[in-house]
Structures are given as structure tokens and as C-alpha cells.
Symmetry: C3
């Protein structure tokens, strides 16, 4: 494992040291209880008191906290500084360098310098992969897809033909990008397949979670903006548009042609109806079901409370009779 | 890209031309705003006025609309005609022809004429694949599974032993068909594995979405009818039966031994309890939770409205006290 | 297909025969209607009458039911005895023996005796696989991961670097274990990646469903106890802890750092908020959303009833106005 002095970390990150600059740091930890030899962070001044009791060797604190009695670093964004330090201690995963001899790369595919490709990866004809990309074992990239530089693609990912992905994408195992949207035409009681002729275009600095699916457009493309972060097992249907820097927690489903604004946050298992719009800055609590457009930024939720099952069964029965009971009550004064 | 005259399209589809039969068509588009050189459609007469303003070169309209002032085609089902035209412009994806030299095909497997198999696909012993199938890169088909002719299987799909799939299946990347159902026996505070001895039988013309799972039966088979269309990330548990021409949107979960009728439509993230039945022609709105059998066809929904989070918190508290508040109100007249 | 006499089955399982010990058993079936030549079970004495009418050749009944007029076996746990008999009739799937010549196994990986590895599987450097494991086709196991003995891993599974899995794990196709948790730091309106330095540690006798995802910890590990059974398409976020013998039905999502007790049961599509705790012995009905810690064992549910869509729309409108209507009613007596 690497080791750094606080001074070395400060120099790398452009930060100021507090306390003893030669303190050795061999890892990162949480502040409570902390681990010897490691560096933690406190982002919220309410937790500053934990600095006094932590077992960590050093703590990254806010730039205004230079008076704190600890060894550490001063940072405008302590959590972001911590993330940068943590990256120094990340262990290798996936393909590290070179093209594995068991990868299948079409002769017409172009890989930029410094790419690593894992065993059993399949890169099709006309694919263009930017420099410094890592393509995991068993991942398939179909014809004419394009990836920008420095993408990190996990194992068993499926990227369809003609998908375009920007720089520095982080794509986790099992993700499916660009498979056909769910389009079928009812004809005389049966469904006929509607071809899906669009593709998927993804901006820079996007994260796509494990087993997440992003469908290609029916006509035109499904669009994922810059800096969008998508957790595992999300479903992005055809022709959805997601604005820059929006984040989706795991299990979010967005139906076709919905438009999600920028800087939105959708909690776990949120569902968004098709053909509606969420303006910029909308937050939906986990489990929320969004049936209609949301025209004002802010935080929203839906759903009913958890109850012991007996109470819940009475609640369920009550809900079905509620309107009638209220109407009866509202009529009473007239008697 | 291919090009067709309206007359050529009319001849292929058995339709009548309106306007100039030599109009060149090089793609498909939406009617509003439309794209030059492309053909659009209008299925609903309410939108016929868009024909006057579209930039599209031609429009497919209903058979009764021969008076519309446009170049185009007359079709009984404009959307279906449009789908057929769109298919003429679909670009290649996946394996196009032949068996890739990096595929692993057991000597005892039988592939019909005209199959294409992608790199790193694995086809096991005793597997039978009908003619004209396309098997995507990295897909595994385990022993003795059978696929009918003209199936299109995406990449990284897992098809388990002895699964039987009909003709013209469309199976998207990452789908898992025939893995064991979730069966465990509680014995003295621990779970013991219940073997799942059944399989999965799938009819003709079925679509199975990306990362969708269809479990094999515990005893007997999980059954998917003809023409069933299943979107991404659906979960079909062991011994479920889905009737012909039923459609499931993304994220639907159906618990074990549930029986879904024919011509049903389940919206996104719908959940269906185990061991219940839905008759033919049931529509469940997105997010609906179906706890009991549905015995009448029709459209159903469940769930609570989205609210700004402050209001929602009060709503959640109110729900917990609702029965008591109502009872108090209902007692008041007696005072 | 194998055949056994009742006596042979009784000897293998250490059970007593009732009726004719030489009855031939060539498979297993349900008791109603039953299949000739097969053995069924009745675990609940309420269903004992079915023994009289079943077409099954024999029935496993409770140890107290020795008076039942049937051929069969007496077992303390009839269903568990049935599971053991069923296992005798399970047909082969996945790799059965040996290392397929098309597998890619790093020279530094260690496989115990009796392992079977499917085609196109990829086993990375430093991986340790216990004896008797089966690794499915197309599965990737990244560097330094460890599996205990007798694990059964399906096809196209992704196991990340340094993940540790105990003995006898059953891992279904498409599962993703140990990919990075969803950690991002907001910095000046954009998200920055928080490295995820932990891993996943999984106990013995765990089942992990198809396309289920278990994220690695941010700091420290995500922990899955012994005997935990996880169905398909579940999402276990970073640093979640799941206690021994807990079972999750399909589609469960558990947000980061939640702690689930032992012997809990979470129904399909349940969602659990992050950083909360469920004590031992909590049961959450399917679809339930758990926003706060559950401190008492017992069964819980949430959600609203399914209604015909017209009634549901009125219900949704009513919910929004409910507080106002109640307050108006509660004011009336003062008039």
C-alpha cells in the first residue's frame, strides 16, 4: 500500500496542512471511530467535535476550521479533497493495461493509445474507442459505437451499435446501452414490432450503474447530458432526455420520451411517467411515482406510511370506503 | 442509406399512393415537425392538420383520408404501415451472417440454415437453434435448449438448459431465461434449497427486454404465450403463466404462480402478488400493486399522489391517524 | 431418468416408509392432482385429504401422520424431505466437469479439486476458487476474489476484485457482485466520483438471484450473512449489512448503509431507505416502502389499494384535499 505524508497530500491537492506535516497517511477512513494511520474528513461543522475523539491520524476539515486541534488538511470542499485522497489508495480492478490475447477486436475498430481490454471482450467493426479507456472482460461493443477517452467500462456490459458516449464515462458491469426501445403497434389484437431507428448519445463524465438499461430512441436519440450519475438497475426508456448533472438512485424507471431537467435528483425506485417533463432542480424522494409534469423546482414525495400489517389491512379497507365516509360526514350538518 | 419511391413502398406494402408516386423517401420521421426526404404517419384524424405543416416528404394516413392534400400512402393501419417502412431503413446490429470464429459451439448443437452467431457466444450440447436466428456476442445457451426459427438474441443473454422458445423471439441483451426459481424451505430457522425442476416455455413472436429475468418452474414450467411483449428489467417468477398478446412495461414484477390473462397490459413497475389471477383484458396503470385477483377486465391503478415534500410528510402523519380522526367525527352527532 | 424405490429413498434420507416399500418413484410432483410414478408431499395437515385423491405414487407426510392410507415417507419436515428427493431428479445444467478449453484462467488463479468452468469464463489473477465449484459460461471473476468450496455460479455473472464469498453460494446468471457503490460528491454544481474502497463479504449458503447487484462498500465492506437468500433483480447498496437467514424477494432495493436484521423477510419490490435499521424478525409485505427504522419484530406493509381507474383518479384527487376536508369537518361543531 502507498504511503504519503500530509505535506505530500497537501502538495498534490493544493491544500494547506494543519498540525504536523510529516504525519504518515496510509489509507482513508471515517472519522468515527477512525483508524490509526488513516485520514478522515469532516464536512459539516456540527461534527467537528468528532475530531477530538477520532482514532484517525489526520482529518480534512473546512477551510474555515484552521483552529481545529488536529493533524490534517484544510479544504474548501473537505469531502471532495477526501475523494481525491481516497483515489490514491484505490486498488486495481478490471483490465489494467494492454489488450488481452483472448479479446476479440475487429480489424476495423480503432483504439486510442493506452487502452486496456479484458479477456473475452468483443469490439465490433467500426468501433472507435478513445485513448486511455478500460474495457472489462466479456463486454461487447457493437459496430460503429464510439467512446470518448478515459472511459472505464466494467465486465459483461452490452453497448449497441452506433451508441455515442463521451469522455470519462464510468459504466458498471451488466449495463445495457442502446438496445431497442419498447415499441409495438397493436394490429388486430396482436402486437407488431416498431423498429427503433434512433440511438443513445451520452455526454461527458457520466456514470451508468450495474445492470442499468438505456434504450435507444424510436426516431431520434435518447439523450443523457454531461455529468449525469445513474445508479444500478435503472431503466431509461426510448427518447428520454436527462439534463446535465442529474442523479438517479438505484431502481429508477423513466418511461418513454420523458424529459428530466438538469440538477435533478431521483431517489431509489422512483417511477416517472412517459411524455412528461420535470424542470431543473426537482428532487423526488425514494419510491415516489411521478405521473404528471413537475413545473416547479423543489422536493416531492408520494406513497403511504409503513404500518403493522393488521393496521395496514384496516387502512387498505378504509381507503376504499373513504370517499363515502367523508360524504356522509359532510352531509350530516344539513340534517 | 436506401431510397424508395412512394410507388415502390406502396407496392411492397400493398397500399395505395396519394399524390406524386415518384416522391423519393430516404427515411422515416415524426410528422411534427418532420424531416425533408422522410415519410411520417398520422394514425389519429385529430392530428391530420399536421399534414399541412409537416416538413416530411410524405405521410401515411388512414384509408379513409384519401382527400388529404399530401404525398403519401393510404393504409388501414397507418402506424403499422409506418413500422414496415421503418424496418426498411433499420441499420445492421449484432451478428449479421455466419458463425464468428471466436464462438464456442458444441459439436452436438444443431443450427438451422442462415444463422449468425457473434463472437464469444457459447452454445451448449444438444441445443437446437432454428434457421435464420441471430445469436449475439457473449450470449450463452445451455444444454438442450431449443429456439425456433428467426429468433434475434442480443448480447450477453443467458438461456438455461432445456428452455424452449418459439419462432421469431426478440431477446434483448442481458436477459436471463430459465434460471432457477426462488424456492427455499425453512428448516429449523435456516433456508434449504428447493430444487427447481421445471423449465420455461415461450410461444412465438415474443419480445423479452434487456436484463429481464424469467425463472424456470419449480414443478412444471413457466409459460409465456404467443405474442407476449415484455420490456426491460421485468421479473417473471417460477410457474407464472402469461396469456397471449399481453404486454409488460419495464420493471414489472410477477410473483410465483400468478396467472396473467391474454391481452393484458401492465404498466411500468407494476407488482403482481403470487398465486393470484388476472382475467383477460386487464390493464394496470404504472406503479400499481396487485395484491388480489382481478376478476373483471378493465383499467386499474393504485398509489398516492405526488406532493411537495412538506405536504407529503403531513399526509403521511395524517394517514396513520386517519381512522381515529374519522371515528371521532362519526361519533360527534351523538353528543 | 433415475428411479428409486420408497425404501431406497427412505434409506438415503433416514426416514420411515409407510405402505409398500417397493413402490417405484421416478420423479416428483405436486399432490393435486399428482402424477403417476411420482412422489408428492403434504406439509400441512389441512391438506391431508388430498392424499386420498392424488394420482401420485407416494406422498411424504408429517411424522405424526403414520396412519395415513398411502404409500409414502414419514418426515419431520415433509417439504425439506421432498426437496432432498427432488434434488435426486435434477437434470444437469451449466458446466458439469472440467475446465472448458475456451475458458480464460490466469496462471496465478487457484482452483480447488473438482471444479468445472464453462466456456468463455474469465478468472483473473490471484483468484482463489474452492473445490467443487462450478463457474458458468461467460462469467468473470476479477483479481484476488475468493470463493469457498462448492459454489455454483451461473453464466455471465460479474464478480469484482477482492470480493469474498463463502461456501456453497448459489449465484444466478447476470448477478453483479462488488461493483462500485454509488458515491458522488457535489462540488460547485457537478458530481465528482467518490472512490469506493471497500469490498463485499458474503457468508456461507447464500443465494444471489439473477441480475441482482451487490455493491462494494465505500469504506469498509458490504456484508451478507450466512444463509441469506436473495431473489432476482435485488439491489444491495454500499455498506449494507444483511443478517443471517434473511430472505429478499425479487426487486428489493436496499439503500446505502442500511442494516437488516437476521431472519427478516422482505417481499417483492420492497424499498428500504439508507442508514436505517431493521431488527431481527421483521417481515415487510411486497411493495412496502421502509422509510424509517423498524424497531419491533413483526409484519408490516404499506401502500394503497388497487381500484378501477376512475375510482383511483377520484381517490388521488381526494388525497390531495383530505387534510382540508377533515379540518373543515372538525371545525363544524363549533359553529
Amino acid at each position: 500500500m502507498p504511503q504519503f505524508s500530509l505535506q505530500e497530500l497537501a502538495d498534490r491537492l493544493g491544500l494547506a496542512v494543519i498540525g504536523q506535516a510529516q504525519t504518515r497517511i496510509s489509507g482513508v477512513c471515517g472519522v468515527d471511530p477512525g483508524e490509526p494511520g488513516c485520514i478522515a474528513f469532516v464536512a459539516d461543522s456540527r461534527y467537528l467535535e468528532r475530531v477530538a475523539t477520532t482514532r484517525a491520524a489526520a482529518v480534512i476539515v473546512g477551510a474555515a476550521q484552521s483552529e481545529v486541534a488536529t493533524n490534517g488538511l484544510l479544504a474548501e470542499h473537505p469531502q471532495w479533497a477526501f475523494a481525491q485522497v481516497a483515489a490514491l489508495f484505490a486498488l486495481p480492478e478490471g483490465p489494467v493495461e494492454g489488450i488481452h490475447s483472448d479479446a476479440t477486436i475487429d480489424a476495423s475498430a480503432q483504439l486510442g493509445p493506452g487502452c486496456a481490454v479484458g479477456a473475452r471482450a468483443v469490439i465490433g467493426s467500426g468501433v472507435v474507442v478513445g485513448g486511455g479507456c478500460r474495457i472489462g472482460a466479456g463486454t461487447t461493443i457493437d459496430r460503429d459505437a464510439q467512446l470518448g477517452p478515459d472511459c472505464d467500462v466494467g465486465s459483461n456490459v452490452s453497448i449497441a451499435a452506433r451508441v455515442r458516449i463521451g469522455a470519462r464515462a464510468l459504466i458498471l458491469p451488466g449495463a445495457v446501452i442502446g438496445s431497442r426501445g419498447f415499441g409495438n403497434v397493436p394490429v388486430a389484437g396482436a402486437w407488431r414490432t416498431m423498429p427503433q431507428l434512433g440511438s443513445v448519445r451520452i455526454g461527458d463524465d457520466v456514470e451508468i450503474g450495474a445492470n442499468t438499461c438505456i434504450d435507444r430512441g424510436a426516431l431520434g436519440d435518447t439523450l443523457i447530458g454531461n455529468g449525469v450519475k445513474i445508479d444500478n438497475q435503472c431503466q431509461i426508456a426510448h427518447n428520454v432526455v436527462i439534463g446535465d448533472h442529474t442523479a438517479l438512485a438505484a431502481g429508477v424507471g423513466i418511461a418513454g420520451s420523458a424529459v428530466i431537467g438538469r440538477h435533478c435528483m431521483l431517489g431509489g425506485q422512483v417511477g416517472v411517467n412517459g411524455h412528461i417533463q420535470l424542470v431543473d432542480g426537482v428532487i423526488i424522494n425514494g419510491g415516489g411515482k411521478v405521473l404528471q409534469s413537475v413545473t416547479e423546482p423543489g422536493q416531492y414525495g408520494s406513497g403511504a406510511p409503513l404500518m403493522p400489517v393488521g393496521q395496514w389491512r384496516r387502512f387498505m379497507a378504509l381507503m376504499g370506503r373513504l370517499e363515502a365516509r367523508l360524504k356522509r360526514l359532510e352531509r350530516k350538518p344539513e340534517r
